[in-house]
């Protein structure tokens, strides 16, 4: 069984079709990348997967659960991280993890917080208010929050945005390790093409709400005759067609 199944998913805001009849699957232990320019529909898609947004049409199943009928059962086994959604800045790192540990019903919570703090190098920061941390430290806290319930499905919206290359690499390594050890399925929205090439088994290229191309990074590179994903991204954004599609 796939961890995530999306079929004929659409979202309409008045006359605007933000997401237009898309479908994809994420196998357990796989990472799928969601690529596209601003306004392509990536955030809308993630919001629908999280139950923040009610689709206009289509079906989403996460871990076998129909999100339209019983999203809370699935949400307990999922999590989400985005640098664009803040965590309470006056609470300490330990308090934030405690809050979310309770919300997600994490057993042996204090032990889990200690383990995560050790693994993500947060032990020295546990008593510090999150508002006083650097961008890199905040990203590690957001990651700890996202992993507090040992999620089986993890949705990541630009997890390394605004991080220096060293910290970004550290986060990517950590995500790879967690996925490989836990079998977690990941959906990654990112503008960092090197990150997508490194982490993703499959990539969905979105434009104007539609999935306009898909495939593994290697397959996309071959199809567009390019050496890196950035050029593939630009080809799609500028309506240059894949080599196989040329007459």
């Amino acid at each position: 069984m796939d961890a995530v199944t999306v079929e004929h998913l659409s979202k309409r805001y008045g006359a605007t079709l933000a997401v237009d009849d898309i479908g994809f699957r994420i196998a357990r232990g796989a990472t799928v990348g969601l690529l596209g320019g601003n306004g392509a529909g990536k955030t809308t898609t993630i919001a629908m997967l999280l139950g923040l947004l009610i689709p206009s049409a289509g079906q989403i199943r996460v871990l076998g659960v129909d999100m339209a009928r019983d999203r809370f059962t699935a949400l307990a086994r999922m999590n989400f991280s985005s640098p664009y959604v803040a965590l309470p800045s006056r609470l300490t790192v330990a308090e934030i993890l405690r809050v979310y540990g309770h919300l997600y019903g994490v057993p042996r919570l204090e032990q889990r917080i200690r383990t995560l703090a050790e693994e993500l190098d947060l032990t020295a920061l546990l008593r510090q208010p999150s508002g006083q941390l650097s961008a890199g430290q905040k990203t590690r806290v957001a990651l700890a929050k996202a992993l507090i319930n040992r999620p089986e499905v993890l949705l990541l919206d630009e997890p390394t945005a605004s991080l220096d290359p060293d910290t970004g690499d550290w986060v990517r390594t950590w995500l790879e390790r967690y996925r490989d050890e836990s079998g977690c399925a990941m959906l990654l929205a990112s503008h960092n093409m090197a990150e997508v090439e490194r982490l993703c088994d499959d990539v969905l290229m979105m434009k104007q709400g539609r999935v306009v191309d898909r495939g593994s990074p290697a397959a996309l590179l071959a199809r567009y005759g390019r050496d890196d994903m950035e050029d593939v991204f630009l080809d799609i954004a500028r309506d240059r067609r894949a080599m196989g599609a040329r007459p």
Binding site: Y13, T43, T44, A47, L50, G51, L52, L53, I54, F72, L75, A76, M78, N79, F80, S82, V85, A86, L87, P88, S89, R90, L91, T92, E95, R98, V99, Y100, G101, H102, L103, Y104, G105, P129, K145
Partner: protein
Amino acid sequence: MSGPARRIWGLLYRHLALYRRSWPRLLELAYWPVLQMLIWGFTARFLAARLAAAPGGGPHEAGLAAAALLGGVLLWEVALRGQMGVAIAFMEELWSRNLAHIFVSPLRPVELVAGLLAMSFVRVLAGVGPAILVAFVLYHFNLFMLGPVIVLFFANLMVMGWAVALGVVSLILRHGAGAEALAWSVLFGLTPFAAVFYPVSVLPAPMRAVAFLVPASHVFEGMRAALLGGRVLWGQLGWASGLNLLWIGAAVALFAWQFRGARRRGALLGAGE
């Protein structure tokens, strides 16, 4: 702890942790209720002295009039603090731009509401408690002389405040942070109809009709009867409780409707703007 109880505790813990490390927030809890009590306490003392010295007046009547005034001030603070407690707890999530994390957790909307109400209860205790103490120490007014019925007065006023607050939260979900100002002002608008300091009978007929629908007006009629005549007006309490059931039911339905509407419009994505 069961799943729902643990999630509600998680939300409550988030706010308690916030208050623990923010002295301005702690100060704000009791500042207005104590200030109100100081101002109205001296006013009541002055009026009681004049009344006691007036022809036909006496110390007993003056004392009862002052008690009715102070009782009104303290009990109205329960409704005000109850309403603000819910609205401010919700707005703390807006201000910290944390709502999306809350809404993608397994916390059900009904548990979110329960957590906000629990935090409001804590705020009422922390805010009105010191004012009750000030009334007792400075003006020798003991609110608990009303007897066990005080619990029902408290409960009814708090529930009325919650109903108004859920209406405010619903408006914030619908109109965004622009509706925040209502959190501080909306219940003050009901004060003329709540009959806090005067009986409903002094109101003009059209205002009496509105006052009848306000649970607080029945509570304050009951409070004055208990203070001045030592009687419990169970009929008034019944009306207050019935109206509260009606209003809180309507407020929860409005919240559920607006929450679903916000999920449909995508308003939860940018909540806080």
